[in-house]
C-alpha cells in the first residue's frame, strides 16, 4: 500500500460541489435531533402510560376524539403528499407548483385550526395540563408537535412568498420540505401512541 506521502498523483486538486448542499445537511442534522427529542417524549409517554393503575386511558377522564383526529391526520398526510408533488413540479419548472404548494399550506393550516378547536373542546370537558397524567402527556406531546407544525407552516409560507417573487431556489425549498416531511411523518406515530 503506497504511503500517503508518496502515493498521490501530482497536480492541483479540484474543489468539488458538496454532495449534500449546506442547508440540506444542516436541516437533516437538525431534524435528526428533533427525532431524538420526540423519541424521548414518546419513551416518556410509554413509561408514563405503563404506570397507570386501572388501565389507560385513566378512568374518569374525557375521551380523546379518535375519529375526528383521524380525519385531521389524513389532512396532514395529504399536505405532505401535496408538497411532494409540488416539489416534482418545481423541478420540472411546471406552473402547477404554486397551486400544489398552496394546497399543502392550506391543509397544514387546516390541521392547526382543527387541532385548536379540538383543544378548546377538550379543555371544556375538563382535560387540562394538570388534570392528570393523560392531560399532561396529551398537551405535552400534541402541543410540542403543534408548535412544530406552526413553525413548519411559517417556513412553507416563506417559501410560497419566495415562489411568488420568483426567487425560490432548490437550496431553500429542499430544507423546508425536509422539515415539513418530518412534521408530517412524526404525527401518525403520535396519533397511534396517544389517541389509539
Amino acid at each position: 500500500m503506497p504511503d500517503d506521502a508518496l502515493g498521490r498523483p501530482y497536480g492541483v486538486p479540484v474543489r468539488r460541489e458538496p454532495v449534500v448542499p449546506n442547508g440540506v445537511l444542516g436541516m437533516l442534522i437538525f431534524v435528526a435531533t428533533e427525532v431524538m427529542f420526540f423519541s424521548g417524549l414518546i419513551s416518556a409517554f410509554v413509561i408514563g402510560k405503563s404506570n397507570a393503575i386501572g388501565g389507560w386511558p385513566p378512568p374518569g377522564q374525557p375521551r380523546l376524539p379518535v375519529e375526528e383526529t383521524a380525519l385531521n391526520t389524513a389532512a396532514l398526510l395529504a399536505s405532505g403528499v401535496a408538497l411532494y408533488f409540488a416539489n416534482r413540479a418545481f423541478r420540472k419548472d411546471s406552473p402547477s407548483v404554486k397551486p400544489l404548494l398552496g394546497l399543502a399550506i392550506a391543509l397544514g393550516g387546516f390541521f392547526v385550526l382543527f387541532q385548536g378547536a379540538e383543544w378548546v373542546a377538550l379543555i371544556g370537558e375538563g382535560l387540562t395540563l394538570t388534570s392528570g397524567q393523560l392531560g399532561g402527556f396529551f398537551y405535552l406531546l400534541v402541543g410540542t408537535h403543534a408548535l412544530h407544525v406552526v413553525a413548519g407552516f411559517i417556513i412553507l409560507l416563506y417559501t410560497y412568498q419566495r415562489l411568488s417573487h420568483h426567487d425560490l431556489d432548490r437550496f431553500t425549498f429542499w430544507p423546508a420540505q425536509i422539515f415539513w416531511y418530518f412534521v408530517v411523518g412524526v404525527w401518525p406515530i403520535l396519533y397511534w401512541q396517544v389517541y389509539l
Binding site: P9, R16, V20, S39, G40, I47
Partner: protein, 91 residues
C-alpha cells in the same frame, strides 16, 4: 488473530445471553409488570433510533456519492475519483 477475535466476540455474546438466563427476580421493585417492560422497551428504542439514523444517513450519503460519480455529465477529474475518500468507490 481473526479467529481468536471471533471466539472472544461470541464469548461476549454468550455472556450477554447467559446474563438474562437468571430471569427470576424476586427483588424487582416496580409495582407493575408493564412498567418494568416499558423501561426495557424504551431502553432498546432509545438506543436503536440514533444508531439507525446515523447508519441510514451514512448509507444515503454513500449512495449519493456513487450516483454523482456515475453521472456522466459532471466532469470529475480522474485523480479525484481515486481520492474521494472512504465514501467513494475507489479507483
Amino acid at each position: 488473530m481473526r479467529a481468536a477475535r471471533a471466539v472472544m466476540g461470541s464469548a461476549v455474546l454468550a455472556m450477554a445471553w447467559a446474563a438474562n438466563l437468571a430471569y427470576a427476580c424476586p427483588s424487582c421493585a416496580s409495582p407493575l409488570e408493564e412498567n418494568r417492560q416499558a423501561f426495557v422497551d424504551t431502553t432498546i428504542f432509545l438506543t436503536v433510533v440514533p444508531l439507525t439514523m446515523m447508519g441510514g444517513f451514512v448509507w444515503w450519503l454513500r449512495r449519493k456519492v456513487r450516483e454523482r460519480d456515475d453521472a456522466p455529465e459532471i466532469a470529475v477529474p480522474q485523480s479525484m475519483l481515486r481520492d474521494a475518500g472512504r465514501f467513494s468507490k475507489g479507483p
